[in-house]
Symmetry: C2
Subunit: 353 residues, 2 copies
């Protein structure tokens, strides 16, 4: 696959990625290279990655605990200390080898260590490949509030090694696929239709490439999310609140990001049918397609109340109002839509019926 170039960095694929990385390391001559992993990528991905790495710089491995519940400022403090103690300086490099938690958190730690060192993302999950590692959003959660603390700062490069996906279980793959379905819903009915026909065990390279291109083109036009970039939040306004709510209930209830976003997309598709002109046929198509792939989650009345009270904290809100991205139809979206409160309960009812 060809590389995707952006203004400030490039995204490389598979064998070309290792070549580009080694060339970059040879040119930059970093004082030290830190590789951030979690226990899973330490075991499954790091040996493969190290075997292709060619550098004369010292390499240090830093391991964090896996999982969204560890995407916290407290984990950052541990890693900042580790970087200091291991002699990290302003000419050090951080390589984030992992899923979205590792790339989000590692990107933030690197962007703030000694006021910013270079970092490279090597996403190992489908979600991180098509979403988290692209676009420069870094950050951590504050309590249950997702991504409350972070910066927008681009990596030096992103390296997509599709073979790492073989380390993922089906639920993780499915979570990442939700973001790809979203790319179809917000920009291209043709892509949505292709993805509907795709099974998770099918070869994914082409679709991963297409999703990254879609996201990248949106981000390039509006890196700081003033306008266009907001469309990437389709399904996320309610989806984030759902994810936070179940995170709050404890780890055994927690949904994966894509699982929460899938619910959010059904709910927000319903809102779209009421407010932005999406037809009933397409609404049914979205619900049917998503429920086929993402098992319906039982929501108690208390759950719904908890989710709605978290909405107000979503970082896309301003002036105390909740802004939504809605669909005009599949493949065409509209930002900054305000939703009357009574529709939320209707949307939940539609999801459940």
């Amino acid at each position: 696959m060809e590389s995707i170039l952006t203004e400030t960095y490039s995204i490389y694929f598979n064998e070309a990625a290792y070549m580009a990385l080694n060339e970059h390391l040879n040119k930059e001559r970093y004082s030290k290279i830190f590789i951030l992993v979690d226990e899973n990528t330490h075991r499954d991905c790091l040996p493969i990655f190290l075997s292709s790495l060619e550098t004369n710089s010292d390499v240090e491995i830093i391991e964090m605990e896996a999982g969204e519940t560890n995407k916290t400022v407290e984990t950052c403090i541990q890693i900042w200390h580790a970087l200091s103690e291991l002699g990290g300086d302003r000419r050090s490099l951080m390589i984030n080898l992992g899923g979205g938690v590792v790339t989000d958190l590692g990107g933030f730690v690197a962007s703030t260590f000694k006021r910013g060192i270079d970092f490279i993302n090597v996403p190992t999950s489908l979600l991180a490949m098509v979403d988290a590692s692209i676009g420069g959003k870094t950050g951590v959660d504050l309590g249950v509030l997702k991504n409350q603390v972070g910066v927008i700062n681009q990596p030096r490069m992103v390296l997509v090694m599709v073979s790492f996906l073989s380390t993922l279980d089906k639920r993780q793959m499915s979570s990442g696929f939700a973001e790809m379905l979203k790319h179809g819903l917000i920009t291209s009915e043709a892509y949505w239709s292709q993805l509907k026909e795709t099974r998770l065990q099918d070869p994914m390279d082409g679709y991963i490439y297409q999703s990254i291109r879609i996201k990248n083109e949106i981000v390039l036009q509006d890196p700081r999310e003033n306008n266009l970039r907001k469309i990437l939040n389709f399904g996320h306004t309610l989806g984030h609140a759902i994810e936070s709510h179940f995170l709050q209930k404890g780890e055994k209830h927690a949904l994966l990001h894509g699982e929460a976003i899938a619910i959010g997309m059904i709910l927000e598709a319903y809102l779209s049918s009421k407010l932005s002109g999406m037809g009933t046929h397409q609404l049914e198509d979205i619900k049917h397609t998503l429920l086929e792939r993402y098992k319906k989650v039982k929501l108690s009345e208390e759950d719904k109340k908890g989710i709605l009270s978290l909405l107000i904290f979503d970082k896309k809100n301003t002036h105390g109002l909740v802004n939504f991205v809605l669909l005009k139809r599949i493949g065409d979206s509209v930002i900054d839509q305000r939703v009357p409160e009574h529709l939320f309960m209707e949307a939940f009812a539609y999801y459940e019926e």
Copy 2:
């Protein structure tokens, strides 16, 4: 005094500052305005500031504990939570009303809350006016290591109200004056000579203006400190280590930033006389001038060892080597100078003799 314009923001003085601020608030219509203070600026400066503030936006006051020992990530966590709980969103504004601790920490909190909100610095100490609040360096300490965590991000405006200096004690004024003396040493012998003749009780407006201009011109040419901006670190390589060391010994031993930097400037002036051609006459002038204003601090052998072992952590170091800014003569400096270790003890001996 005329305003100083930079590429991305402006620095306003005295009455013009309030006018510019109110105009800005009227234009931007922030969803909420948070004013960060410490207990001192809450009592001494906030009432004056609020009496000139004209806005329809909600205003919330957030108070942190004063002092360098509170410039920590832990304090940031408290303020990020406060911002969330008080309904802060991406269209909120943060005004940092205080000395260098408040502007450094508040700038970092704002730059990272929901991936960055606008902030305005209103420095109330001489140090913050001529140094900390200008140039976009934000950050906090990590343990005793100064400014290990932070970002470079410019404020929307800086408002310099010289009248706030009447709230400072002599020791605080003297601390800020050290940075002004540094501005003379690194760029202008004429300015150094003027400052030598100045007493702290003299009118300062003109000198504050000149120091801000000097710093601002340097930062504009090299905002990310790749080259030229490093000259602002004269006296700071050893000075930071000295400050950290005494901070580590406990609050009652702590030196103010400028007091530590004054020692650092004498030591690094000595290194300059050995390595970068500064004459003995000027070296003596620097030592004499600084010791007249900053009482000699007793350094035990243990202190010296502690200071030197902290040197390695200074964030200006790369590849494990310690880089210094040295003077060729008063008013002319040179960056990236490596210093043989044996000279450090000689420099201490010169300071003490």
